[in-house]
């Protein structure tokens, strides 16, 4: 039998018997026995109450232990949850864009930026047109200069057969 049930039955029987006999002895005018029975009743009451309180404390202790164990086990998960909970709200770079009702602000800004960028592009295009062609022609002419034919031709009067062994055609001593 379960110890707890046995203890409860024993305590209850002692309480009932001692309480009943207290009044029986009072009825019989046996004061000493009534006093003794009442003392047994009080002792049994204290024991039953102590047992009940101990059982209650044990239950609370077990519950607290379970909570502590549950808190210990997923420590990383708990920390992660707390970090996520403490995370600052995501920053919105263009907060006014997140609200569709304020698109009337976006359109003029976009149009203004477009006009500004178009103006800058027109200026850049004009400057490039004015400067790129002459510079490019000048550079091309300089690069083509190395391909120009020798001014006095490939063969001279002083050309000797051994000159062919000295270097490329057209090289001057």
């Amino acid at each position: 039998m379960n110890t707890r049930i046995l203890r409860t039955l024993l305590g209850g029987a002692t309480l009932a018997a001692s309480g009943a006999y207290t009044f029986v002895y009072l009825y019989r005018w046996e004061w000493n026995r009534a006093l003794m029975s009442a003392a047994i009743f009080i002792a049994a009451e204290v024991a039953v109450m102590g047992s009940a309180l101990a059982q209650r404390l044990k239950s609370i202790n077990q519950r607290l232990d379970a909570q502590i164990e549950a808190a210990k086990a997923p420590a990383s998960a708990v920390r992660r949850d707390r970090i996520q909970a403490a995370r600052p709200p995501a920053r919105v770079s263009f907060a006014w864009l997140s609200r569709p009702e304020q698109m009337n602000v976006f359109v003029p800004v976009l149009m203004g930026a477009g006009v500004l960028l178009s103006g800058i592009a027109w200026v850049v295009e004009r400057v490039a047109r004015a400067t790129v062609t002459p510079v490019a022609e000048k550079g091309l002419a300089a690069q083509l200069g190395t391909l120009a034919l020798p001014a006095d031709g490939f063969v001279s009067d002083r050309q000797r057969p051994v000159d062919l062994l000295r270097g490329p055609i057209g090289r001057r001593p």
């Binding site: 009044f23 002895y25 009072l26 009825y27 019989r28 005018w29 046996e30 004061w31 000493n32 026995r33």
Partner: protein, 120 residues
């Protein structure tokens, strides 16, 4: 339902208290001057230094105060034990008081046992 339970509990508690008061209350008994009560009792002792006779005397000296009237000294009973005579006869309440005193642990190491109440 809860109120009904509380009401029943209150009624039972009240009846119990009144019943206990009725059962344990002390009252004067009717007196018949020409009557007497002979109480026969015995004593059991355990380690009492004076012996049974001395224990019976001591026990009666204490318990005779619980009854009204004149009481005789403790004398050996014809059969066994001791007997005393109370004049006038005691009633039901006096009998309960005397019985409770004699059979309770009134004296250390002495236990009385009343074997007979005779009303004459």
């Amino acid at each position: 339902m809860k109120a009904l339970g509380i009401l029943v509990l209150a009624v039972v508690t009240g009846v119990g208290i009144l019943g206990l008061a009725e059962l344990t209350q002390n009252r004067p008994d009717p007196v018949d001057p020409d009557s007497s009560t002979i109480v026969t009792f015995d004593v059991a002792t355990r380690g009492y230094r004076g012996g049974d006779d001395s224990a019976a005397l001591a026990l009666w000296a204490v318990c005779s105060a619980t009854v009204p009237g004149d009481v005789t000294a403790v004398a050996p009973a014809p059969a066994d034990g001791y007997e005393v005579t109370i004049t006038p006869a005691i009633g039901e309440n006096g009998r309960k008081r005397l019985l409770g005193c004699l059979e309770d642990g009134t004296l250390d190491r002495v236990m009385g046992h009343v074997s007979d109440f005779t009303r004459t």
